[in-house]
Amino acid sequence: MRSRRSQLLIAAAVAAALAGRAQADPPRPDTSSWTCSQCPFPTGGSATIEAGVGYADGANAGSGRYTGLDHGGPYVAADASGQWRTKSGHYGSFDVEQAGLPSRHASVTQGEEGRYELSLTYQGQPFRQYDDTVTPYRSVGAGTLVLPADWLSSNSTAGMTALEPSLEGVRIESDRRTMALNARYFTSRVWTLFGTYSHSEQSGTGIAGASFLTEAVQLPEPIDYSTDTIEAGALWAGRQASLRLAYSGSWFHDDTDQLYFQNPYLPVVPESIGGLLSLPPDNELQQVSASGEIQLPFWSGALSYLASDGRLGQQGSFVPGSTLGSDPVLLAGSLGGDIDLSHYALSLALTPASRLSMRGRASYDGRDDHTRQLLIPYVVTDALPGGTYLTPRYGEDRTRLEGSTDYRIFRWAQAGVGGDSTHTHYSPEQVLSYLTELQAWGYGTLTPLAALSLTVKAGSGRRDASAFNPAALPLDENPLLRAYDYAPRDREFLTLRGTWALSTALSWSVEGTGSTDAYRLTQEGLKESRQRELSTTLAFSPATPWSVYVDGSYQHLEGLEASLETPGASPWQEREGEYFYTVGGGGEWAIRSRWHLKVEYVHADSRDDTELLPVAGITWFPEDRTGLDTLTLDSTYLWTAALTLHLRYERARYGSADWALQSVLPETVPTLLALGAQPYRYDLDVLELSFVYRLGK
């Protein structure tokens, strides 16, 4: 199988290269006398440097979730960019953004026109989850969490009398830092060699849940990941064909592969005094691919292709399966994880007539799991022997066919039809042997005026599954497990889209979608769901110096699911409705080319209703709500030709209600020692003042 795939890759590459030889150049004018003496090709350098100070009030983990601006006080506001070029054709540029925040970005590019280009980039990605969380655990080295020496165990959090004085704050946050080196070398007009190396590190603290039978604890989980990625290859670009050959490899490494934690509860069995959690093991993914396009000699056709073959492996050492001295589960070596990933695809686009266009695609994605199955005697939550069980492996082959055709009936009317079919074939260990999804749709577009366009698209889909195979499931699982993923389903959907440029200055667009899913033959799992979305924008730009816009959106998602408490019992149902809407507006003004002001306002609300039926007593959950208001003012004043004053103000107010977190402190739930995270809430003011200085032309 592997050799056939390799042959396919080589055949595709050779064929594309041969096709490219056939190019016949159209007549080209002799431009040797075009001197471009009036062209102001820049030489020398120019740069813009922005430096100043910002001050945040009311910031916390919620407001600084992705920017890292998570505490009040001053911070450095600094950006810079620049570029240079020599007469000999060497050039370079640099860019630094948000240098004073963990979300900083930097890049440097250097190259020679027509020869090569090198760039180095850095991107920080902070992720702040909670700064109000507390835990009695202390970290002792990497991967070990212990309780204070005076800890008093109990079978309930209320009985842990040393809990309150033992609690210490722990911030649930992490930072990802990615460095990447990109290189391109232009060996000729048609050949380019390229390579990318990136190194990404993620460190910090996350949340892991763990339990001793039914007594659970939330742990501060160490995050210490790094990923190295390489992509290298060659690109050939002929006039009639192209080919891209690439090798890519990605190696994930976790410095901490296990987390030991002491049991804060009275042990269910005397030896169960600690737990051991497995953290993500190292893995690697390597792939080779050939892709490209061939221009067909008829109907303005284009054929795109992709062939890719790769292997996903995992050789991380097994951690001990239990902390129990009397009954450890020790597996020697590692899993030897070995999964073949293969992808093949062909796309075809044809225009048989000026009014008619057709597109089609066939693709195959395979996940072939060769990992050995292991018969393992396992221990339940470091407390009790659980029996012996064979590890399941999951593989699948997915084949997808798509096609569509568009026909312009009149200059002002167009219609089209299309459809797709997806067939997934599962490996023998699974409850299904196959799943088939079919979908068909049609649309019509009217453009009665050049500036007015209305499109209506409607369609339906059907999903069918093979019979369930209960023998593939463990004895204690319901045969209808995973019913939702595989449930036979009917889907209807409708999309409306309109755009109207009332004048060159005034435009309006609206987009609405709706879909309804009904699950046939389903007594359990999701029975029906509905989705409605509407978005609209009105923009007015009467003149270059100023423009305004207003926009809004509305979404409503609704689902009904049924479940059985025990086999044969009457099903209970849960209905959930989710509502989300936004309104916003903004504008830009420029006065005398010196003063520029930009204002934006956004209001967003969400509501989530959950109801259980039929359940005795209260059936409605309290509403989960979020509310966001942000106002941003951004103003620049051109002091001199080289110096600009920049003032930015942001006010953001966010509140939320969440029944899963609200009022749940470490001791609130008798059998859950929680970290005590509360719903996000912040009232943020940010003021930034900086000077922008321009150097060079």
Binding site: A12, R28, T31, C39, Y66, S278, Y364, D485
Partner: protein, 327 residues
């Protein structure tokens, strides 16, 4: 497997189709006798007499156009670029401008004008861009959703600007959001990928120029796209969770959600869509399990993380005792 045949057929198609087409093209090339054009002067072929120098006689006063000379499209040393040796300069993109010049600029006269509201058909606009960029960004363009919907390159790109907003990570989402309004609204939801904050871009996951994957993903499948960043979830694990290996969107929604962790629904209800009457009973955990409820007791199966309070290794476990994804 039934699909093994399909896979073989599809693979064979790739090789066969390309070989046949290559052979045809090779033959056609062999029969073509290179002949000198009757007149290869620019004027004879409809171009201006002096290229950009002609254009700049009128257009050099437009500062917005002149910034092209500070972009990659105007590098005189790059033989691949319009302004490189032998390049057609302005007319490489805007087409032959001889007639436009003869009309003293009074008529467009076949000049290709770019933009969403341009009189030049979108296909013609895009063919100018693709004549150079087909290989590096556009080899899957022809069958892409953007091509099918007649989106012009200039609807997204600002060619004459020093900085093209759609190529900048911090500003890209605003460009995409002009059309994809519902997705733009998703990113305002409380839980989203950091696209509005500018540390990710739409192009981190999607290839706007087309790909052979669904939703124009940058990788061949959704899972390979997601795990290119979330590599710790890539596995393979000793104990796997089938919906995870199948498709990330069985539980997560990519753009934005009102549920934590971009989930499609809140646990335990999300888990109970599949897991009912299994292991321990699928109890309808009701509001009685919330703190402060009369005659109720705070319920660990409902509060905080719900099921993941115990089954935290939902993406897979490498512990020998991780069968129930609890270790």
């Amino acid at each position: 497997m039934p699909t093994a045949g399909v896979r073989a057929a599809l693979g064979s198609c790739i090789a066969l189709a390309t070989l046949v087409l290559a052979a045809q093209a090779w033959g056609a090339a062999a029969q073509t006798t290179p002949a000198a054009p009757p007149a290869n002067s620019p004027a004879a072929l409809g171009y201006s007499e002096h290229g950009a120098d002609t254009c700049l006689m009128c257009h050099r006063g437009d500062a917005r156009l002149m910034t092209i000379f500070r972009t990659a499209h105007a590098r005189p040393g790059d033989p691949r670029g319009p302004f490189g040796p032998g390049g057609l300069q302005c007319e490489a993109c805007h087409g032959p401008g001889g007639a436009h010049v003869k009309s003293f600029g009074m008529k467009p006269a076949g000049i290709v004008i770019f933009g969403s509201h341009s009189p030049t058909p979108v296909a013609q606009q895009n063919s100018m861009c693709l004549s150079c960029h087909r290989a590096d960004v556009g080899h899957a363009w022809a069958a892409s959703a953007h091509a099918a919907n007649e989106v012009s390159c200039a609807a997204c790109h600002q060619i004459h600007s020093v900085s093209d907003p759609v190529r900048e990570q911090a500003t890209q989402a605003a460009v995409c959001g002009k059309c994809h309004q519902a997705v733009a609204a998703d990113f305002i939801k409380p839980f989203h990928h950091p696209v509005p904050e500018g540390t990710m871009a739409c192009a981190s996951c999607h290839d706007p120029h087309g790909s052979t994957a669904r939703a124009m993903l940058v990788k061949s499948t959704l899972n390979e796209t997601c795990t290119s960043c979330h590599a710790e979830l890539r596995g393979p694990f000793l104990w796997e969770h089938q919906p995870v290996t199948d498709d990330c969107d069985n539980c997560h929604t990519p753009h934005g959600s009102v549920q934590p962790a971009l989930l499609t629904e809140r646990p335990p209800m999300l888990c109970q869509e599949c897991h009912d009457a299994a292991g321990h009973p699928s109890v309808p955990y009701g509001p009685q399990g919330l703190p402060g409820m009369p005659a109720g007791m705070p319920n660990p199966y409902l509060l905080v993380g719900g099921c993941v309070n115990c089954h935290s290794q939902v993406h897979g476990s490498n512990s020998p005792s991780g069968r129930a994804l609890m270790r």
